[in-house]
Symmetry: C2
């Protein structure tokens, strides 16, 4: 594949199976031709900029294992580059399939360079953050040309996918500001203020054709941002959200016409009963472009536990069609996540992704669960810790609860020997 | 109400609204007559033994707020009475609506007395645990008479509801032992072994009419145990589980005929896609008796995080009809829960219960979420901590992340001032 003039989408449409398609077909246990066909239709994407050295190919689409993205990135008031690079290692160790660098502040090229170098999985960004950072946080100083420059610089540097809030039109702003929580997307809020200040249309939309050229040249996958995602349950599934979704559907078509891979971002905060409808509506309006959702959080009342409130929503979202889950950490709504938050968020989201894969009946998905059940009925604790999503934590709880004299592994401190149902079952089944 | 000869069910059928029905009608914002009618039909229960002094009335049914039960209780190899009584305080503080004392070992009457005295919410037990404890853990020494004695003693002491695994017939055992995880219910395993040893039917079933007499006399609500609940995803929704459920449906009818309040217990470990079907099947077979579910866990691969794997399932279960959720703690599958596990489990389950109540459209359920959203858009951090399920944890994260010099509350360390979407929204909406 000529990396400067083609994309996975263009190659797939031309009937060519790229090495990346072959690699993901192996990982996902699917025929390469099946993958090629789905990429060609736009039902799956492989976000991978050839300039991101040592990046591995990962496929996103509802026919494949549900993937998890971890957001990291320097805050304007907290953290430094080294801390964020350290979080990359934590996120990879905890099983992140994708990483987004959401850093804001000065010298963003340096932290992104360090993250790209440290990161063998696809890396995404939100270019409007760097654009605003380059003008010191003053949205009045932002220009269309600067935004294009940032997108071009990031594409050249090797960014694999970019969140572009191009679906947020000026006419949508009035719908959004009358909501209970208004606009909770950072990118959406910046663009809305810019549009109102200059009385002009969204610069991402007016310069869309040029953006397409850059993305096609570097095979940057567009992740159409939902600048009007609801910031609380009360705002879910409202006119603002769905007006933007209509535009996102149009932009999916324009991306595909330009040969650019595209996925679509979704909410946010959604009551549990509205998740299925949201997924189906996106799949229909966006012609099955992969759906990349943030949570959704299913209740607003539990700050400090939003990895849980959102893992509930994420499981349902993935079951009903979302293919990439952006994690939410326990720090959400409170502060910048620590390394431990990154780990907690990833564990919760790998649970959600896997639970959805089992529920969807993905071939082989339940094998891992069955192996755990077998280890349990056999009292094979070491195997249980090996199979566990976070084996160190599981081992710590089990071993920490037992006194050093207890040699017998055939029970735990929950039930003891006499009340252990597994011991009884083994006797009944003639296993011991 | 004559507390020695009637039950809430008998009173309701006679057209009488008891003080307990009036109390729950107030708590749930429903007309007392609506509550009476639902109790009379058996679609709701108020588990409350008149001998449990200072117990408050709590209603269980799918028309009301979803309730959460916390299991506590001494393990045969860990913990002492004082520790378990301390956990009662933790559980109540964290919002438990019901408590089950699952203690096993010696002198169970003492720990139960202490728990009943400390506990203003309904308390449940599993009498087979005490029966087996009284014979030193040797199921061969268990007799039908002893089991009846224990049920009578506990009813007289003031236990509000009892798990009775009477639906597990001898003919079901063969179905269960060929499963991957066999029988994971402690009570189910004990009874199965007893039936196989003595080649006799389940003593709870053969002595059912006598049990009904005791329960009616003390208005003990029967919680029909699912001794064959699946212990892993592979065993979910299988012949063993559903054979027992058929018998549970028959026992619901017998309870109602005897004037005894009844609810039904459910799984366990269930893939996310099978939860709705499980809830609907129970509602149909058990004629809308309140469904009391344990989780369900939606994946087996995350020991140490089963409060999360099961809060996902519990949200879906409650949305699809379950009305009482038995919490699962992070200690599940590993060891006896600590006080911190009790708290973590309750937070996760109050999230699940509330998210389901919002999704079901229970009147006023979302008010709490909307108040939080309002506090967020107004940067009213103190109000956010007041409204949070666990305000201390939320406050700790927020304050701990800020340096002491930062006086300005109009942002957090996630986005800082310039990138804060809430600040931008407030400017756009003319709020600041």
């Amino acid at each position: 594949m000529d990396t400067t003039v083609s994309t996975q989408l263009i190659e797939a449409r031309a009937g060519r199976i790229t090495p990346e398609m072959e690699a993901v077909a192996r990982d996902e246990n699917r025929p390469p031709e099946f993958v090629r066909d789905e990429i060609a239709r736009g039902h799956a994407v492989i976000p991978m900029n050839p300039a991101h050295a040592n990046c591995r190919a990962v496929v996103v689409g509802s026919s494949y294992k549900t993937k998890v993205n971890a957001n990291i990135g320097r805050s304007p008031v907290r953290s430094c580059n080294d801390e964020e690079v350290a979080k990359v290692a934590v996120a990879l160790d905890a099983g992140a399939d994708f990483l987004m660098d959401l850093s804001v502040g000065e010298d963003l090229g340096d932290v992104r360079r360090a993250i790209l170098d440290a990161c063998p999985v696809p890396v995404g960004t939100v270019p409007i953050y760097e654009a605003l950072s380059r003008v010191g946080g003053d949205s009045k100083a932002l220009t269309e040309d600067l935004l294009l420059d940032v997108i071009r610089d990031q594409a050249e540097q090797g960014v694999d996918f970019m969140t572009l809030h191009a679906g947020l039109k000026r006419e949508h702003v009035a719908l959004a500001i009358k909501r209970l929580m208004g606009i909770c997307s950072r990118g959406g809020a910046i663009l809305a203020e810019w549009m109102e200040t200059f009385e002009r249309e969204n610069p991402l939309l007016t310069r869309w054709d040029e953006i397409m050229e850059i993305c096609r040249k570097h095979d940057v996958t567009v992740s159409l941002g939902d600048g009007l995602r609801p910031g609380c349950l009360a705002d879910a599934s409202d006119d603002a959200q769905f007006a933007e979704l209509d535009t996102l559907g149009e932009l999916v078509t324009r991306c595909r016409e330009a040969g650019v891979q595209v996925m679509v971002e979704g909410p946010g905060h959604v009551p549990f009963d509205q998740i299925q409808m949201n997924m189906e509506r996106q799949q229909e309006l966006c012609d099955k472009a992969p759906f990349y959702v943030l949570g959704p959080v299913v209740t607003d009342i539990a700050p400090g536990y939003d990895h849980i409130t959102s893992a509930i929503g994420a499981t349902s979202a993935a079951y009903h069609g979302a293919s990439l889950l952006c994690y939410v950490t326990p720090a959400e709504h409170l502060c910048l996540p620590t390394s431990d938050d990154v780990r907690q968020g990833l564990v919760a989201y790998r649970i959600a992704a896997h639970a959805a894969d089992v529920a969807k009946g993905l071939p082989g998905a339940r094998d891992h669960d069955d192996a755990m059940a077998k280890a349990r009925i056999n009292f094979d604790w070491q195997e249980q810790f090996k199979l566990a999503l976070d084996g160190d934590t599981a081992r710590g709880r089990y071993e920490g609860s037992r006194s050093t004299e207890e040699g017998d592994p055939d029970h735990c401190t929950m039930c003891g020997r006499e009340f252990c149902a597994v011991r009884t079952t083994r006797r009944l089944a003639g296993m011991s």
